[in-house]
C-alpha cells in the first residue's frame, strides 16, 4: 500500500488550505517584524490577502476539489512564495520557505509527482535569484540547485522510511486479522462455548458453540452483561458478586480463575445445565474476562444415575435383610396353600411363627362359637398341662381377647397365667396378639422365650405381622372347607339319586370325588328315561374346578333334560347344548360329553361324542370294543361343530361303559395304557352293571384315592324279567315302542303267536283309551305294568283322566269289545283321579314247555 493513497483528496485540499494560511502568515510577519527598508510592504500585504482568501476557499470547498486542482494549487503556493521572496528582496533567507511545498509534495504525492514539483520550485527560485541580482553567480547557482535538492532528498528519504513503517504495520495488521479468523474458526468449531467480556461483564465476543448453548445469536448478546444471558434472576446478584470477587483477587495477585455450575434459561424455554470456567486476562492493561461454557447435562444425568445405583445398592442390602424376615412371614401365609384342614395347619403355623420370632414356644388358640378359646395347637412347652378349652377371660389369651390388643408379659407370675406350669419350663417372657380376620377377632397366637431374652416392641410388631398372615391362612382354609363342602354337595346333588328302572336296561353309576385336598371337579353323569322304554345317558366333564364348574354342570344337566323331553336325539341335543354353552361366555367353561339314546326294543344304541373318551362296548361274550365313531369337538369351542350321531346295535346281554378321563388317566402314563386296562378289566368278569362298575373302579384306582374325580356309568342290555313297567307319554311313537317292548317281553316268556297278538292288541287298545282319557294335559303319562305270574299275564293301565264325553260310545265300545274278546278278564275302575283298566290272559300251554 502506498502512503499517498492513504490520503483522500479532501485531506489534501485541507492541508493545502493550511499551506496557504501559512503563506499568508509569513507575509503578515514580514511586514510587521522589523525589516530592511527594501521590503515592498503593499505588495506583500496583497499576497497575504490572496493567500488567506485561497486558504479559506480550500477549507470551505475541500470536498469538491480534484487531484489536478491540488497539483495546480501547490504550484500556486510556490509562485506566491517566490513573489514574497521577490518583494522582500531577501532571496537567501526566504529560500527556506520552499521546503513547505516540497514537504507537501513528498508527503501527499507519489515520488515522480513530488520531483515534478521540486523542478517547479527550483525554476521559480532561479527566476527570483535572477531578478534580485544581489549575489555572485556561483552562490546563486549552488542555492538554486542545492536548496531544493538537499531539502527534497532529505524529506524524500524521511518520508520513505515513514511509508515503509506504515506498510509493515499494515502487513502485520493483515496477518493478525487472518490469524484471528483462524482462531475464530477453531473457537467456533469447539464444542464448548467461549465468551469474552470486559471488566464490567459486558460481552465482547462469543463463539458458535456459545450461541448454541445460550440459545441466542451473537448479535443478540454483544455488549450485554453476561448475567442477563439466561442466568435466572435469583442467581444474578450472586453471579455478579463472584465475578467482582474474582476481579479483585486477580488484581491483588490472587487466583485468576473461577469455576461455576450455572443453569441457563434459554429464550425458547429450555434449560442448559452447564459448567463455566471464568478467567481474568489483561488486554492493553485492562482486565477482561474469558469464559468457557460446557454443557454438563449428560454428565449430570450420568452422575445421577450413578448416585441412584449406589442408593439402590444400599436399598437392596437393606431389602435383603428385610426379605429374610418377610420370607419367614410369607412361609406362614403359604401354609394355607398346602394344608386343607386346621388340624394339619396348626402345627405348621406354629413352627413357622417360632422361626419368625426365634421363639422357644408358641401356641394357637381359636375362638369358638360359644365364646370360649380352643387350643388348636401348641408346643409341648406351652401345653404341659394346658386345658384344651380356655375360658375366654383367663391368662394372656383372655386378656388379648378382651382388649383386642397385644399383651406382653415379662417375668409373669403364676396368677397372670392360665397355665402356671410354663414357668417351670423356663419361659420368662410371653407375648400374645389377636388374630383378626374381617375385623373380627378369631383367635390368639402366643409366643414365649426363655431367660435371659426379653420380648420387646419390635417382637410385638413382628408377631402382629405374623398374626395377620396366620389369620389369613386360617380364613383361607376355612373358606376352602366351606367351598369344597358346598361344591361337593352341589355336585352330588347334580348326580341322579336313583337311576331309572327301565325294562331291558340295567344301569349302574359311580362318582368318586378327587382326594380331599384337591378341588371338586366338573365330572357328572345322568340317565333319563325317555318314551317307549328308551333311555338317555349322559357322561360329561366340565373344565375347571370348584363351585363354578359344579354350577355349569347344573346348567348343562337341566338343559339336557329339557332338550331330551322335547324328543331330540343325541346329535340334536349336542348341537343345542353347544349353542347353550356359547350363549354364556361368562362361564368360560368347555365341556366334553357323550350322549347316548338306547332303545332296548330294537337294541339300537345311538350316540354322539363331543371330545370325550370313547364309550366301551362289550358283546354278550364280553368282547370289548371302543366306539370310536361320532366324534366331534367339545361343547363351547366352535359355533357350528356339526355333531353327527352314530347308531350301533347292542346285542342282548351286551354292555356299554361310559366314563370320564379320571378313570383312565394316570400321571406320567400314556392314556392308551389306561384305555387298555379299562377294556381288559371290563371283559374280565360278569356283565352286570353294578359288578362292572366295582370291577373297573378297583382296577383303575387300586388305592381308592383319586387325583382327579371319576364318573362311571354302565349299561347292560338285560333280559326283561317277569315284570314290565314303564310310563307312556301321549305321543305317537309311544304305543309303537310299547308294542315292540311287549312283543320282546312275551317272546322271552315264550308266549305263542296267538297269545302275543292278543295281548299286544289288547294292551295297545287299552293304552289308546287311556291316552284319550288322560285329557288335555300333554305331559300326562300313562302308567303301564305287565306281570307274568304262573303262566298268566296281568296288565294294569292307569291314567289320571276321566272318561271323555266327546268320543262316540261306539268307538270306545269297539275298543273295549276287542279287549274283551282278546283277554280272559277285563276290569275297569273309574275314579275321580283317573281310570284303571286291569286285563288278564292265561298263556297257552306249550307242548314240551
Amino acid at each position: 500500500m502506498r502512503a499517498h493513497a492513504m490520503f483522500d483528496t479532501r485531506t489534501k485540499a485541507r492541508s493545502l488550505a493550511f499551506l496557504y494560511g501559512a503563506a499568508a502568515l509569513i507575509c503578515v510577519l514580514t511586514v510587521l517584524l522589523p525589516n530592511v527598508a527594501s521590503v515592498e510592504e503593499r505588495s506583500v500585504l496583497v499576497l497575504a490577502a490572496l493567500s488567506l482568501a485561497l486558504a479559506l476557499v480550500f477549507l470551505r470547498f475541500a470536498a469538491q476539489v480534484s487531484d489536478g486542482l491540488v497539483h495546480l494549487a501547490l504550484a500556486g503556493v510556490t509562485v506566491i512564495l517566490s513573489l514574497v521572496i521577490h518583494y522582500t528582496h531577501n532571496a537567501t533567507l526566504y529560500a527556506l520557505i520552499y521546503t513547505w511545498p516540497a514537504l507537501y509534495a513528498f508527503y501527499f504525492f507519489s515520488t515522480p509527482a513530488a520531483i515534478g514539483h521540486l523542478a517547479i520550485i527550483g525554476a521559480a527560485y532561479a527566476i527570483v535569484l535572477r531578478i534580485d541580482d544581489t549575489m555572485d553567480a556561483t552562490i546563486r547557482l549552488v542555492l538554486v540547485l542545492g536548496t531544493p535538492l538537499v531539502v527534497g532528498l532529505l524529506i524524500s528519504r524521511l518520508l520513505g522510511v515513514m511509508r515503509a513503517t506504515l506498510e509493515r504495520s499494515a502487513r502485520q495488521e493483515q496477518a493478525l486479522r487472518s490469524s484471528e479468523r483462524r482462531t475464530r474458526l477453531i473457537v467456533d468449531s469447539a464444542r464448548d462455548g467461549f465468551i469474552s467480556a470486559d471488566a464490567q461483564g459486558r460481552v465482547l465476543d462469543i463463539n458458535a458453540a456459545a450461541e448454541r448453548l445460550l440459545g441466542r445469536s451473537r448479535a443478540d448478546v454483544l455488549g450485554r452483561p453476561f448475567q442477563e444471558l439466561g442466568i435466572p434472576p435469583a442467581a444474578q446478584a450472586k453471579f455478579i458478586q463472584r465475578r467482582r470477587d474474582l476481579l479483585k483477587a486477580a488484581r491483588e495477585g490472587g487466583t485468576r480463575h473461577l469455576e461455576l455450575r450455572v443453569t441457563i434459561e434459554r429464550p425458547d424455554g429450555t434449560q442448559l445445565r452447564g459448567e463455566t470456567m471464568i478467567w481474568v486476562v489483561e488486554r492493553d492493561g485492562e482486565p477482561m474476562f474469558n469464559a468457557r461454557l460446557t454443557d454438563i447435562g449428560d454428565r449430570l444425568a450420568q452422575e445421577q444415575r450413578r448416585e441412584r445405583l449406589v442408593r439402590a445398592e444400599a436399598a437392596r442390602a437393606e431389602a435383603e435383610r428385610a426379605a429374610l424376615t418377610i420370607g419367614r412371614l410369607q412361609a406362614v401365609a403359604d401354609t394355607a396353600l398346602t394344608q386343607r384342614n386346621l388340624d394339619q395347619l396348626g402345627p405348621q403355623i406354629l413352627a413357622r411363627t417360632r422361626d419368625v420370632l426365634d421363639a422357644e414356644a408358641a401356641a394357637l388358640l381359636l375362638l369358638q362359637d360359644d365364646g370360649s378359646l380352643s387350643l388348636i395347637s401348641s408346643d409341648p412347652v406351652l401345653a404341659a398341662s394346658r386345658p384344651v378349652v380356655v375360658a375366654a377371660d383367663a391368662g394372656i389369651a383372655g386378656r388379648v381377647l378382651a382388649t383386642r390388643r397385644p399383651v406382653l408379659l415379662n417375668d409373669p407370675s403364676a396368677s397372670d397365667l392360665a397355665d402356671p406350669s410354663i414357668l417351670d419350663a423356663g419361659i420368662s417372657s410371653m407375648l400374645g396378639v389377636p388374630l383378626i380376620a374381617h375385623d373380627q377377632v378369631i383367635g390368639v397366637i402366643e409366643v414365649g422365650v426363655r431367660a435371659p431374652r426379653r420380648l420387646g416392641p419390635e417382637d410385638v410388631d413382628l408377631l402382629r405381622l405374623t398374626a395377620d398372615r396366620v389369620a389369613l391362612a386360617i380364613e383361607h382354609v376355612r373358606a376352602y372347607g366351606r367351598e369344597h363342602h358346598i361344591a361337593e354337595t352341589l355336585q352330588r346333588s347334580l348326580l341322579p339319586q336313583t337311576l331309572p328302572a327301565l325294562p331291558g336296561v340295567a344301569l349302574a353309576g359311580r362318582y368318586l370325588p378327587a382326594a380331599s385336598e384337591a378341588e371338586v371337579g366338573g365330572d357328572w353323569y345322568d340317565a333319563i328315561g325317555l318314551t317307549g322304554g328308551r333311555v338317555l345317558l349322559v357322561m360329561g366333564d366340565v373344565s375347571g374346578k370348584g363351585l363354578a364348574a359344579a354350577s355349569t354342570v347344573g346348567a348343562l344337566r337341566s338343559a339336557i333334560r329339557a332338550y331330551a323331553l322335547e324328543g331330540h336325539g343325541p346329535a340334536q341335543i349336542a348341537e343345542r347344548l353347544n349353542t347353550f354353552v356359547l350363549a354364556e361366555p361368562a362361564r368360560e367353561h368347555m365341556a366334553t360329553l357323550v350322549l347316548v339314546v338306547f332303545d332296548p326294543v330294537d337294541a339300537e344304541f345311538s350316540y354322539v361324542n363331543a371330545g370325550h373318551p370313547p364309550p366301551l362296548m362289550l358283546s354278550a361274550e364280553g368282547r370289548p370294543q371302543f366306539l370310536a365313531g361320532a366324534r366331534s369337538v367339545p361343547l363351547g369351542v366352535l359355533p357350528f361343530p356339526n355333531y353327527v350321531q352314530e347308531t350301533v346295535t347292542l346285542e342282548a346281554g351286551g354292555a356299554v361303559v361310559l366314563y370320564t378321563d379320571g378313570l383312565v388317566e394316570r400321571r406320567a402314563e400314556n392314556i392308551d395304557l389306561g384305555l387298555g386296562r379299562l377294556s381288559a378289566t371290563a371283559a374280565d368278569g360278569p356283565l352286570d352293571a353294578e359288578a362292572l362298575c366295582d370291577r373297573l373302579l378297583l382296577a383303575a384306582l387300586p388305592s381308592g384315592a383319586t387325583s382327579d374325580d371319576v364318573a362311571l356309568l354302565t349299561l347292560c342290555h338285560v333280559p326283561l324279567g317277569s315284570r314290565l313297567a314303564l310310563d307312556l307319554p301321549s305321543e305317537p311313537s309311544a304305543l309303537r315302542s310299547l308294542r315292540a317292548l311287549l312283543r320282546r317281553w312275551l317272546a322271552q316268556a315264550e308266549a305263542s303267536n296267538g297269545d302275543m297278538h292278543a295281548i299286544v292288541m289288547a294292551c295297545s287298545e287299552a293304552c289308546t283309551n287311556a291316552i284319550e282319557h288322560a285329557g288335555a294335559a300333554p305331559d300326562e303319562t300313562i302308567a303301564f305294568e305287565a306281570i307274568l305270574r304262573d303262566g298268566e299275564v296281568d296288565v294294569v293301565v292307569r291314567d289320571r283322566g276321566r272318561w271323555r264325553e266327546g268320543r262316540p260310545p261306539s268307538d270306545q265300545g269297539r275298543g273295549l269289545e276287542l279287549i274283551d274278546a282278546l283277554m280272559d278278564d277285563v276290569q275297569l275302575e273309574s275314579a275321580s283321579d283317573g281310570t284303571t283298566l286291569r286285563l288278564r290272559r292265561r298263556l297257552t300251554e306249550r307242548v314240551g314247555a
Binding site: 305317537p732 311313537s733 304305543l735 309303537r736 308294542r739 303267536n753 296267538g754 297278538h757 299286544v760 292288541m761 295297545s764 287298545e765 289308546t768 291316552i771 284319550e772 268307538d811 269297539r814 275298543g815 276287542l818 274278546a821 282278546l822
Partner: protein, 117 residues
C-alpha cells in the same frame, strides 16, 4: 311316504290301483293313512287292491277307518280287495272283526289280481 311309522305306495294296474301299506297302523296314524289310500284311488278306477302284507299291527281305530274306506269306495262302485298273508297278525285281527264281510280278502297280491282278471 312316511306317516308316523307307516309307509304308503300306489301303482296302476290296468283299471285298478294297487296301494301297498307297511308299518303299523294305530290311533295316531290310521286316519291319515286311510285318507291317503282313498286319495290314491281316482274316481275313474274300477277298483283298488289294498296290500297289507307289510303291516305288523292294526288297532281298533285303524279297523274302523278301513271299514269306512270300503263303504265310501263302495258308494263310488269301486271294490276294495285286501291282501293279508295267511296266519299274519293283521289277518287275525281282521278275522276277529269279520272284515271279510266288508271286503274280499286274499292271501297274496297275485291271487287278488287274478280275481280282477
Amino acid at each position: 311316504m312316511n306317516i308316523d311309522g307307516a309307509t304308503l305306495t300306489s301303482t296302476q294296474h290296468g283299471d285298478h290301483v294297487i296301494v301297498s301299506v307297511t308299518g303299523e297302523l294305530d290311533v295316531f296314524n290310521a286316519g291319515r293313512v286311510v285318507e291317503l289310500v282313498e286319495a290314491a284311488v281316482p274316481t275313474h278306477a274300477h277298483g283298488a287292491v289294498l296290500d297289507l302284507s307289510g303291516v305288523g299291527f292294526l288297532d281298533s281305530t285303524a279297523i274302523r277307518k278301513l271299514f269306512a274306506l270300503t263303504s265310501r269306495l263302495g258308494e263310488r262302485r269301486q271294490l276294495v280287495r285286501v291282501v293279508t298273508p295267511g296266519g299274519s297278525i293283521v289277518l287275525r285281527t281282521l278275522e276277529l272283526v269279520e272284515f271279510g264281510r266288508a271286503a274280499p280278502m286274499h292271501g297274496t297280491l297275485e291271487e287278488a289280481l287274478a280275481q280282477i282278471g
